[in-house]
Every structure is written in structure tokens, then in C-alpha cells.
């Protein structure tokens, strides 16, 4: 039957974000990401009635499983990882009916997949619209994409095809480029959705709203008023469970190249003409292009790395990184990175951006702190402003999403005594307590074809271009990464590093 125009009932509906009828095909359907994040997020979407009426999920794995065995596996996983517990049996039963499994071990497996998808299209009316999701280890990405291309699974009739690629996207500029080229053999750039789940977080998107929907912040958002910016992604967890991957990656590849640089670009970018994929990503790429490269001879001055040793987290003793299984006893993998970056453009010339991330820090915290300059002339005596700290705008991403502004206020006594107070906006207190999970947001966006919150080819390449020389310099150096005990804010070198500029790290 001919495709008619837009659904006339959709006009003016408040839940306008429901995607079109489609099928989502997950490679690595039995893997850790699928069971911990993807399928629970999809179930939560179903619970909120945000999935289309005609929708199916096809999990792909190597194991020989029946649909019902697969469902039973995932039921456990959803019960454990869904945002809403306990699992709602009725919703689950209806959701599970559309949850299918195809075992793919060889090229013939792709023929099975093609037949299965064709049958779903006829039975449900999904019209050949397909979202592929690569949730496998990265080594499998290229072979899967090539097989998809060869077996003609991707396109069917007038339906659309898209592919979501998980991080890490390459391990340096060269491999990232090669992966993009492989993807381009089958998919067009606008059909490729490189996921960075940080961009799905409400507060990260809120950086854009704060900056571009309010008139009062933008005028002070520049080198004239900002002294420096600190961006922190601290984890209390160690590398334990992902040690095998982590040992070959390190904090730079795991966090800095993607999450930290993404947050930095959102903080530093110029206003886009519109909140849509092309305009937003164009502006982000401009920031990355304007970043001052870290030359090999500057590595010592602009970077610090570290590796945790045994220590305590919340009172419990935890082993050091090198004591972990699957970690080489003389491993030099960094578990802590601090960087000093500059965005060489009109707005930010000379304003340092301090980035830091680490595992086994005292707590899990992600925040952006914009520290403003002091007033040009001090009106009040040094004694009166003893308790006064510089104005700071803090955007907290986790654990408790919110924004706070620190400013000086008079203590209510006779005479002038000034103290810093914080004006706190707790996200959960002003809006729905229940913010959507990042994966829910991003899966919906990909199903709807909105690439605004995904990373484009040129963005990824610019990120690697910045990170590669540092990794190379560390590799070529004979020095070991400085040690820091688990449960501290990184090696002393990190404090000296920022202290040389007359500044100090915040305690998030």
C-alpha cells in the first residue's frame, strides 16, 4: 500500500517523541552492554509507552539460543537493571513477545537474519526501517559491517537504515579513520550514530539550555570574566571488571578522548543557529579545531598521569591497579589524567581549561566549574572578605544533577563581614524527580534519526588528533606514571601542576 502523508493524529500530542515503526537489531545481544543498559532502557521506554506499536528487537549472538531462552536471560537482566523495579509482569510479557534472537556464527547466519527481518516487516508492518546497534567488542565492528553489506540485510524497500556504534571509536586517529571508512562502505555518514552516552545525560544537555536559553550567562562567558574552567569526571570504581579492556586503553582513551572533550566543547562552543544536528556539531568541531595542540616538549608542563595503588574507598581496603587480574605487574596504563587545554579563539584566548579524570577517587562525581575573575578593585577590607571565594558556577552532572552559583554575601552582624554562599538548583527538586536514563534518550533519538547528540566523523578525528601526541609522548618516555593511593584525588603531581598557575583543584 502506498505510504500516506504524516499521521494526522500526531499533531499537538504531548508525547511527540515516539519513533516510527521499526526494528532494532543488536549485535552483542547477550553481552554486558545489552543486558546491563540497552534492553533495560528499551523495557523502560515500553513502560512509558514511548516505543512504537509496531516494533521488534532482534538480539544477535554466537550462542545457539531459542527466542524463549533469550527472553529468560534478559528477564533476569531487566529485573536487575531497569530504572523501575520490580519488573512489571504484564508490560514485560508484551515487550518480550517482540524480543527475538538470531544466532549468527558464519555468513549463513546473516541470511537467517535477513529472512527473519523480512518476516517481521510483513507481520508487524515495520516497513523495512532498521536500526543496527554494535554492542560487541570493537574488534568485531568491521567484520559485522562488511557482512551486513554483503548479505543485503541493511536495506529493504523504502525503509531507512541506521547504525549505532559504541565507544571506543578507534584507538587513535588512524584506526578511527579506518573504522569510518569501513562503515562508509555500507552506511552514509548521516546514517552513522557514534554514541557517547554522556551526551544523553540531562544535565549535559542542560549546559546548552543554560547557555543559550538564558541571556544573563552568555555575556560573562568569555575570557574577560572567566578565570578558568575545571572539568572533573571522577569514578570511585576501579578498573577491575573491565581490566582487560582498560589495560590496553587507559583513562585517556576511556574518558578524556570522548566524555571530557565532549563536555569541554559544549562549555566552550559558540551559539549554534539552531538546535539541530548539523548546526550544533559544526560549532562543536570548531572548538576542537581551535584547541592548542600539546607538543611533545610540553607534555610535562600540560599533562599529568597517575596510577592508583592500594588504599581505601568508603572505609574498605581496595587493591592497587597492578594487583588486578589481567593487569601486567609492571603496567604503565594511566588510571588518572589531568590536562591543561586552551581554546585559541576570540572568546577563550588565554583561559585555561583544566580537565581531570581518575579511577578510585574518593567519590563518583562529574562536574563543570566555571570560576570567574575577582572584582577589579577591592572595596572591602582584607579582613572583611576573609571568607570570600571567587564566584563559581558549578554544573553538576552526577551524582545529583544540578547547578549552583557561589557568591559573596554579607553576614548579618554589625559591620561588614563577607562569606561565600551557594545558590543551589537541584534538578530533581524543580522538575520530575525521575529523569530519563541517558540510553533511553539516545536510543529514542537514533530511532527518530536525530543525530544532534551523537558524534560526527570530523569530531572524532579532531578528538584523536588532540589526544594522540600525548599518548605517544607517554609511551616513549621511560618514566612510570606517578602513583596515588586509592581514595585520593590523584597524585601530588596533579596538585603541583595546577598550583604552578596559582590555582587549586576543587573538591567536588
Amino acid at each position: 500500500m502506498a505510504v500516506t502523508s504524516a499521521n494526522p493524529l500526531r499533531a499537538g500530542l504531548r508525547l511527540a517523541r515516539v519513533p516510527e515503526p521499526s526494528v532494532m537489531v543488536i549485535f552483542g545481544g547477550t553481552g554486558d552492554l545489552s543486558t546491563r543498559k540497552l534492553v533495560p532502557a528499551l523495557y523502560d521506554l515500553a513502560r512509558q509507552r514511548l516505543l512504537p506499536a509496531a516494533f521488534a528487537i532482534v538480539g544477535i549472538g554466537r550462542a545457539a539460543l531459542t527466542d524463549s531462552e533469550y527472553r529468560a536471560q534478559l528477564r533476569e537482566a531487566v529485573a536487575e537493571n531497569s530504572r523501575s523495579r520490580p519488573i512489571d509482569e504484564e508490560v514485560w510479557a508484551s515487550f518480550a513477545e517482540r524480543l527475538l534472537y538470531v544466532s549468527v556464527r558464519s555468513e549463513e547466519g546473516y541470511d537467517d537474519l535477513r529472512r527473519r527481518l523480512a518476516r517481521i516487516d510483513t507481520d508487524l508492518g515495520t516497513g523495512g526501517d532498521r536500526l543496527f546497534y554494535l554492542a560487541t567488542p570493537p574488534v568485531a565492528y568491521a567484520p559485522i559491517v562488511r557482512s551486513l553489506g554483503r548479505s543485503e540485510v541493511v536495506r529493504s524497500g523504502t525503509g531507512w537504515a541506521r547504525i549505532v556504534v559504541e565507544k571506543p571509536f578507534g584507538r587513535d586517529l588512524e584506526t578511527a579513520r579506518a573504522l569510518t571508512e569501513t562503515l562508509h562502505e555500507v552506511f552514509k555518514e548521516e546514517e552513522i550514530f557514534r554514541i557517547d552516552h554522556y551526551l544523553g545525560k540531562e544535565t549535559v544537555q542542560n549546559i546548552l539550555v543554560l547557555r543559550f536559553a538564558n541571556a544573563i550567562f552568555e555575556p560573562v562567558w568569555s575570557r574577560q570574566y572567566v578565570d578558568h574552567v575545571q572539568i572533573t569526571v571522577a569514578e570511585a570504581l576501579g578498573a577491575d571488571e573491565r581490566a582487560e579492556y582498560y589495560e590496553g586503553a587507559g583513562a585517556m582513551r576511556d574518558i578524556v578522548q570522548n566524555h571530557l572533550l565532549q563536555i569541554l566543547t559544549l562549555v566552550a562552543m559558540e551559539p549554534p543557529a539552531a538546535f539541530e544536528a548539523g548546526a550544533v556539531r559544526d560549532e562543536k568541531v570548531k572548538v576542537l579545531r581551535a584547541m592548542r595542540p600539546i607538543r611533545p616538549d610540553e607534555t610535562a608542563e600540560r599533562t599529568v598521569r597517575g596510577q592508583y595503588t592500594a588504599g581505601f574507598i568508603e572505609g574498605d581496603p581496595v587493591p592497587g591497579y597492578r594487583e588486578g587480574r589481567e593487569v601486567a605487574p609492571e603496567s604503565r596504563t594511566e588510571t588518572f589524567v589531568a590536562l591543561k587545554l586552551f581554546v585559541d579563539n576570540w572568546r577563550w584566548e588565554g583561559t585555561p581549561f583544566y580537565l581531570r579524570t581518575g579511577k578510585r577517587m574518593p567519590k563518583r562525581a562529574t562536574e563543570v566549574a566555571i570560576q570567574f575573575r575577582a572584582v577589579p578593585h577591592q572595596v572591602f577590607s582584607a579582613e572583611a572578605r576573609d571568607g570570600l571565594e571567587p564566584n563559581t558556577l558549578v554544573i553538576r552532572v552526577q551524582p545529583e544533577e544540578g547547578i549552583s552559583l557561589k557568591f559573596g554575601a554579607k553576614v548579618p552582624v554589625q559591620g561588614i563581614r563577607i562569606r561565600s554562599v551557594a545558590m543551589d538548583f537541584v534538578y530533581g527538586a524543580s522538575f520530575l524527580v525521575d529523569a530519563p536514563d541517558a540510553y533511553e534518550t539516545l536510543i529514542l533519538d537514533a530511532l527518530r534519526g536525530d543525530g544532534t547528540l551523537f558524534t560526527r566523523k570530523d569530531e572524532v578525528e579532531e578528538q584523536w588528533r588532540l589526544v594522540d601526541p600525548v599518548l605517544r609522548a607517554w609511551q616513549e618516555s621511560d618514566a612510570e606514571p606517578p602513583a596515588y593511593p586509592a581514595g585520593t584525588w590523584g597524585p601530588t603531581e596533579a596538585d603541583l601542576f595546577i598550583g604552578r598557575d596559582g590555582r587549586r583543584w576543587r573538591q567536588p
Binding site: N7, R14, L15, P52, A53, S94, R98, A429
Partner: protein, 379 residues
């Protein structure tokens, strides 16, 4: 008698009341500081509730308190006499309290009761205005049929950015709602109109819409020849409130361009039966059917069936509430055979959720106005 345990202590004046509330806030802040927490007096909206019966005032007050974490507000509950005696002397008294809504004591929410006795029509505004928190929008929630034409109603609407009513409580919703709309839209101060009874339909509309996201089914929207909406009545079939069901039909009709073929005619036991005309001139049979459903509020929609006939095939789209009021099943049948079936959560909406949703939106709803226009034409 006012229960001070519920409404707080009386205050002789607005300034005394503000002083008392500020004192409570300071006390809470001091307590919070000991716990190393920061306290915010976070108010994002002024809510004025008008009630004539204490039971309505209490229910509204509880609803707003439950919403306080999500929509911290200053709530002003105006409780007037149900039957003001014109000769009686009139008096206005104030009661204020700061309920604890948050175990961490981070959000303050304040509630003020304005108790008006006797004829207070002209003086009410002078009490409410000084109590409003500046620079915040005002939601006016009227708990019964608003007295269009009275001074205090029109004074308050002129201040409000949104008027919240529930047409389920109206005796003649198809007359009262258009009259309200015309009051709201006078003057430069545009006040959006919210009908909680329309908000109850949001999930139903979403589910119906999802059927027709499938292109093959969307094509059938042009060939719909029958629609049936069931709504809940009490066991005796006495409380018959078809307004919610009619709003749903009005919405579909407005979206698909149907026009009334005739006026509504009563059918079995409080139901309605009438015809509408599709844009291609064909007739659509419309039935509104009252049904007893345990656990549903009277007037709530309990099922929808849309039938289409095209190419010699009859396709039926059906959403039915399942037991326990928490789910609905959506099915598509082609010539009687089920081709698609799913169960989705559809919890019965209580007033807390309805109002909570409305508080996130400030604009008026064009779809509602269009649906209403169809009802006016049918009445």
C-alpha cells in the same frame, strides 16, 4: 471551625503571616545547616485554589503538597462560604503553614488558607494579591463550576496565566467550557485554559495515535466508518458523565475532518448514538456507551474501538482497559482475526499526576480547543 492542625495558625494580617512564615523558614534553614545541607526556598509557581466546601479545599491542599517536591509553590487556598448570606457580616481570616515535604529539608513549600465568610466577592482580590510571590506565574485552580460573571472570578482570572478546571464536575460541560474560554481570552492578559478531564485523555490519544504510525494502517484513517467509546458509570447507572468520552470523539473528528450529520441522540441506558460525515461524504456511526467498570471513576473512558472498511476488508482497532486499572491492551483485527496485540501500562490517573503534568506546560492546547468546537456543534 478551622482545624489549625491542618491549616496552621491564624495570623491577624498579611504582614504578620509573612513574618511567621519567614520565622519557620529560618528555623528550618538552621536545622538544615547542622546537617550540612543547603536550603532553598524554591517556588516556581503561585497556585491559587478556590473552593466553596472544605472537603474540596482539603483535597486540593493535599494534591499540591504531594506535588511540592516537583513543583514547589506558594499555595493560597481560598475557602468561601457555600451559601453566602448577603446580609451576614463578612470577614476574611488567614492561616499559614510550611509543611515538611522533603526529608532532607531542602525545599520549602508554603500554604496559606484564606477563609472568607459572608459576601466576599469584592474584597477577595485585595487579600490574594499581596500574598503572591512576585515574578512567578499564577495557576488558578477552580474546584467546582466557575461562577462566570462574578467579580471575584473575573478578578482572579485576569491575574492568572492559567485557569485549571475539571469539566467532569460540570453539569453542562459543552456549554460551560466555551463560556470559560471566552472569559479567559479577553484583554491583553491571555490566560490558558486547562481541563483536567482533557488531560486524562492524553494517554488514550497517544495509544490511538500509535496504531496509525504504521503506514498501512494510517491509510485506513480515510475509511473509518464506525467509532465506539465506552465510559464508566456507577453500578446503578445513575451518574452519567459522558464529557470525557465526547472530548475523545471530538478530537478524532477534528483531526480527521468529520462534521456532524445530526445532533446527538440518546440510546440505551444513558448512551448516545449519532452520525458524522467524513470529508469524502461517507457516514461514520458514532456510539458512546456507558458501562459499569469496577474501580474506574465515573466518566473515565474504559475502551475505544475504531472500525475501517476498505478493499472488502474490515479492520478494527481496539484499546481496552484490562483488570486492575493498570493496563490496556491494544489489538488490531482484520476480518475478525487478531494481527497485532500488545499490552501497555495505562495507570488510572489521579489528580496529582494530572495537575503535575499541567504544571509543566504554560501554553494553551489547540487540540483541546478544536475538539471542543466539534462538541459545541454536536450539542
Amino acid at each position: 471551625m478551622i482545624d489549625t492542625g491542618v491549616w496552621g495558625d491564624p495570623s491577624p494580617s498579611v504582614s504578620a503571616l509573612e513574618r511567621d512564615l519567614a520565622r519557620v523558614r529560618r528555623g528550618r534553614s538552621a536545622h538544615a545547616r547542622e546537617q550540612v545541607a543547603t536550603v532553598a526556598r524554591a517556588a516556581v509557581v503561585n497556585i491559587v485554589v478556590v473552593a466553596r466546601r472544605e472537603i474540596h479545599a482539603l483535597r486540593a491542599s493535599r494534591t499540591i503538597e504531594e506535588l511540592a517536591m516537583r513543583h514547589p509553590s506558594r499555595a493560597i487556598v481560598v475557602l468561601g462560604d457555600a451559601h453566602p448570606d448577603e446580609r451576614a457580616s463578612s470577614a476574611v481570616s488567614l492561616y499559614g503553614r510550611v509543611p515538611e515535604v522533603d526529608q532532607f529539608d531542602q525545599v520549602h513549600f508554603e500554604q496559606i488558607l484564606v477563609r472568607a465568610r459572608g459576601p466576599a466577592d469584592r474584597r477577595l482580590l485585595s487579600v490574594v494579591v499581596p500574598l503572591l510571590v512576585p515574578d512567578l506565574p499564577l495557576f488558578l485552580w477552580w474546584t467546582e463550576t466557575p461562577p462566570i460573571g462574578t467579580r471575584h472570578f473575573e478578578d482572579l482570572v485576569a491575574l492568572a496565566s492559567r485557569l485549571v478546571v475539571d469539566s467532569a464536575d460540570f453539569a453542562r460541560p459543552e456549554r460551560t467550557i466555551p463560556a470559560l474560554a471566552s472569559v479567559c481570552f479577553v484583554g491583553a492578559q491571555h490566560c490558558a485554559l486547562t481541563d483536567l478531564n482533557w488531560t486524562r485523555l492524553t494517554a488514550w490519544r497517544e495509544l490511538l495515535t500509535q496504531f496509525f504510525d504504521v503506514p498501512a494502517w494510517r491509510a485506513l484513517l480515510r475509511s473509518v466508518d464506525g467509532m465506539r467509546v465506552s465510559f464508566a458509570v456507577d453500578a446503578d447507572g445513575r451518574e452519567i458523565q459522558p464529557s470525557q468520552a465526547l472530548l475523545l470523539i471530538g478530537w478524532i473528528a477534528a483531526r480527521l475532518g468529520w462534521r456532524p450529520a445530526e445532533r446527538m441522540a440518546p440510546s440505551e441506558a444513558g448512551g448516545l448514538l449519532f452520525g458524522m460525515i467524513r470529508p469524502d461524504g461517507q457516514r461514520v456511526r458514532v456510539r458512546v456507551r456507558p458501562r459499569f467498570d469496577r474501580g474506574l471513576e465515573e466518566g473515565d473512558v474504559s475502551g475505544v474501538r475504531i472500525e475501517a472498511f476498505a478493499g472488502g476488508t474490515r479492520t478494527e482497532f481496539r484499546i481496552t482497559r484490562l483488570d486492575e486499572r493498570r493496563y490496556a491492551s491494544g489489538t488490531v483485527r482484520v476480518d475478525g482475526k487478531i494481527v497485532s496485540e500488545r499490552v501497555v501500562p495505562l495507570p488510572a490517573t489521579d489528580v496529582v499526576e494530572l495537575l503535575g503534568e499541567e504544571l509543566t506546560i504554560l501554553a494553551s492546547d489547540r487540540m483541546y480547543e478544536e475538539a471542543l468546537a466539534v462538541l459545541v456543534a454536536l450539542a
